[in-house]
């Protein structure tokens, strides 16, 4: 059994995940809709997960994948809690435009 | 038995007072403070008998901090001052009603604990901890139980707190630097660490800032008058009677021996600071309208002279300074108590509202007069011995120092007698002034007795402190 990376190369995974990550960052900065912001965060998480798996293969080690599991668990929890917060914000403010959330202004 | 027992007693006392409830608090606090006083007498005895009363235990390994308490003559005498004044101060407040008395008295004992620790600690960081710890209770005492407008009080007290804290921070920096050099916070190691001139310069002024604010030496005194005025009298007594002496003690214990070259170099400047304080404080005191503020400025003047004595770096100056510290501690407590006695009856501290008390309260007038005379250092009072010795040591350095410092004799008499005249003398006051009660008399009589006993026979104190001061000077001049 050959290593799949012989065919594709670890760099390409790196680039892919970098691009995905940057798209996530861009989404967070660009959009005002909190749900889309959340989705962008998910994209960033996935970019990292992808890199984990790629390196797990590279090192032929299961530990990378184990971390992906944990990361998924955290992501799931985060999304659940985050969306719940969003729902309650929506209930209170009638909008989820992040520009309206300026209570942190000093 | 060693000195840490004393600390434990005071700390336990603080808790016990808190849990005793508002009604019993003052009595429990008095009991514990008296026990502490008795204990410190016992410690003195065992020290005189040559027993080892120090305590040493490593506390934190890295950085190396030891729970190290050492008592020599100097520490012991300051200890005695603290433990003797604490019951007196507590007892003096017996006729006052305080809200939440349990916290009040617990804080007093806690403060006493912290100050005792400061006088005993021989590890730099431990000392620093006690030093800062003593600030917390007085902050609350002044803030919560103080008098006058709340906003102004808050302003004054917060200023005091932050100001002294900021000063101490420089001391902490100095300690950290010393630790880098010496690898230990223990005082003996700090004494032995080799420092260059420039290093000594920085460390010296860092220490100076902390102590100058605490003592206070002008121009770092601006917190003092307001806080004295706003704090409850008990707080003022604690501040002026004991806490100021922490700064002076620290000058002798920490600043001078650690930075000998700098101390010798800046000797004239520092004496100048002290004497400027004497003159400035006396002159400002002349025109104060508030009795407590006047006493605050008089305290500034006296403390300036003590500081000048500390910085003379000769045995007379040091001994005089210590004697004067003790004398000033008692007298200033007495004077503030006299102000409190008037306040209890007239509800005012404005001098202009007083006058004509003497014909109504002859007993109080006599006791107050004696305190005033002690404060102006009449011979046979304890203050005279201190003042004379300090002035003598100043004259050894330069006769002009003695002359300028000696203006305290004239100006002190001027503002104190002027105050006494405006407060006590004149046509009988229209308002009734009940003469001093038993409690009040007892407090004043104890203070006066101390003033006269040691004013006539200071030898026990001399014998106790002289070896310790000699040791400091030997360290200072690096004589083995």
């Amino acid at each position: 059994m050959t290593n799949i990376l012989n065919e594709i190369g670890i760099e390409n995974y790196i680039f892919l995940s970098v691009i995905l990550f940057c798209i996530g960052v861009f989404g967070v900065l660009y959009r005002r809709n909190a749900i889309i912001v959340f989705m962008s965060i998910e994209i960033m998480l996935n970019a990292v997960n992808l890199l984990f798996v790629a390196f797990s293969t590279y090192h032929q080690d299961a530990q990378g994948q184990v971390f992906v599991f944990f990361s998924m668990a955290v992501a799931a929890a985060e999304v659940a809690v985050g969306l719940a917060i969003l729902v309650s914000i929506f209930r209170n403010l009638g909008s989820i435009d992040i520009n309206n959330l300026k209570n942190l202004k000093g | 038995m060693n000195v840490s027992v004393l600390l434990i007693i005071l700390l336990v006392g603080a808790f016990a007072t808190y849990f005793a409830g508002d009604k019993l608090a003052s009595k429990v606090a008095l009991l514990f403070s008296l026990v502490a006083f008795g204990l410190s007498i016992a410690l003195l005895n065992s020290y005189n008998a040559g027993e080892n009363i120090s305590f040493f235990k490593y506390w934190i390994n890295k950085p190396a901090i030891a729970y190290s308490l050492t008592a020599d003559g100097l520490s012991l005498i300051m200890l005695l001052l603290t433990t003797a004044l604490t019951p007196l101060i507590i007892y003096s407040s017996f006729e006052n009603e305080y809200k939440n008395a349990k916290s009040f008295y617990a804080l007093i004992l806690f403060m006493s604990f912290a100050m005792t620790g400061t006088f005993l600690a021989s590890d730099g960081l431990l000392y620093y901890i006690f030093w800062e710890l003593s600030l917390i209770p007085i902050y609350f005492i002044a803030l919560i139980w103080g008098n006058g407008d709340v906003e102004e009080r808050k302003k004054a007290v917060v200023k005091f707190f932050i100001y002294t804290l900021a000063g101490s921070l420089f001391m902490l920096i100095a300690f950290v630097y010393l630790y880098q050099k010496a690898g230990s916070f223990l005082i003996a190691d700090l004494y032995n660490v080799k420092l260059s001139r420039v290093e000594q310069f920085w460390i010296f002024w860092a220490f100076f800032l902390a102590y100058a604010i605490k003592i206070p030496i002008i121009p770092f005194h601006t917190w003092q008058a307001k806080v004295y005025q706003k704090a409850p009298t008990v707080g003022t007594m604690l501040l002026s009677g004991i806490m100021l002496k922490m700064g002076l003690y620290s000058v002798l214990r920490w600043q001078i021996p650690v930075t000998p070259i700098a101390s010798k170099t800046y000797l004239p400047i520092l004496i100048g600071f002290g004497i400027a304080g004497v003159i400035y404080g006396s002159i400002v005191a002349l025109r104060q309208k508030d009795l407590k503020k006047l006493l605050a400025y008089s305290s500034l003047a006296h403390v300036g002279l003590i500081a000048a004595g500390c910085y003379t770096l000769n045995i007379d100056g040091l001994r005089g300074a210590v004697l004067q510290m003790l004398a000033h501690g008692f007298v200033v407590v007495g004077l503030f108590f006299a102000a409190e006695i008037i306040f209890r009856r007239y509800e005012t501290r404005t001098i202009a509202d007083m006058g004509g008390i003497r014909s109504q309260a002859p007993k109080f007038a006599s006791l107050f007069m004696i305190l005033v005379l002690a404060s102006v250092a009449l011979p046979t009072t304890f203050n005279f011995i201190g003042e004379f010795t300090v002035l003598y040591s100043l004259s050894q350095i330069n006769i002009w120092f003695a002359l300028l410092g000696g203006t305290t004799i004239i100006l002190g008499a001027y503002y104190m007698l002027k105050m006494y005249q405006q407060v006590m003398l004149g046509e009988t006051n229209a308002r009734v002034f009940a003469d001093v009660s038993f409690h009040e008399t007892l407090v004043l009589v104890i203070i006066i007795a101390v003033i006269f006993i040691f004013g006539l026979y200071p030898r026990p104190i001399n014998n106790l402190i002289t070896p310790a001061l000699d040791q400091i000077l030997r360290t200072l001049f690096r004589i083995q």
């Binding site: 660009y30 032929q60 969306l83 | -």
Partner: protein
């Protein structure tokens, strides 16, 4: 040293990778840019599927399945439910001011350039990709690792999920402020 795929002589795997990668990036972009949040969510689902494809490509079958279950199956459904709950599909999002968008684009470019340059210049240790032939990512092995070495974090993860669950229930419950 960048490994440029030789498209003329590309192997099947390489083609599959390129296609998958292309879809991933495009759908990610679309997810961000589409006006309608429902569309965004659907694009994102596709994106996640392609990522699962990458996992499969890397021989991590279990992970791919879990990924599909968790992300596409749970998280995205949650998103869709929320969107429908809020009835946001019609909501027209007001565009951000130009300066904000400019800032977003600048930072996007910046982070892209920085990261890519860093990775390019980081001079990875050149070497043969090892293939020990050992089984390291079957369910059996993973389960072993997960429940031996990482047992405590595993349990903590479960607690985390439990706590999240409770928290969500509490958060989304209607507050009884009217009393």
């Amino acid at each position: 040293m960048i490994h440029i795929p030789d498209f003329a002589h590309a192997s099947t795997i390489q083609i599959v990778f390129c296609v998958l990668a292309f879809i991933t990036v495009i759908t990610a972009f679309l997810a961000i840019f589409s006006r309608n949040p429902i569309h965004s969510a659907l694009y994102l689902v596709i994106c996640f599927f392609t990522i699962a494809g990458h996992y499969l490509l890397l021989n991590a079958q279990f992970l791919a399945i879990v990924h599909i279950i968790v992300y596409s199956g749970a998280i995205m459904i949650l998103f869709l439910f929320t969107l429908m709950l809020m009835n946001l599909n019609k909501q027209n999002e007001v565009h951000k001011p130009r300066i904000t968008r400019l800032g977003a684009i600048v930072s996007f470019c910046l982070i892209c350039i920085v990261l890519i340059l860093v990775f390019i210049n980081s001079k990875p240790i050149e070497g043969e990709y090892i293939a020990t032939g050992e089984d390291y990512q079957s369910i059996k092995v993973l389960g072993h690792v997960l429940l031996n070495e990482y047992m405590v974090p595993f349990e903590f993860a479960s607690i985390l999920l439990l706590v999240a669950m409770i928290g969500v229930v509490l958060l989304s419950k209607k507050e009884k402020t009217e009393k």
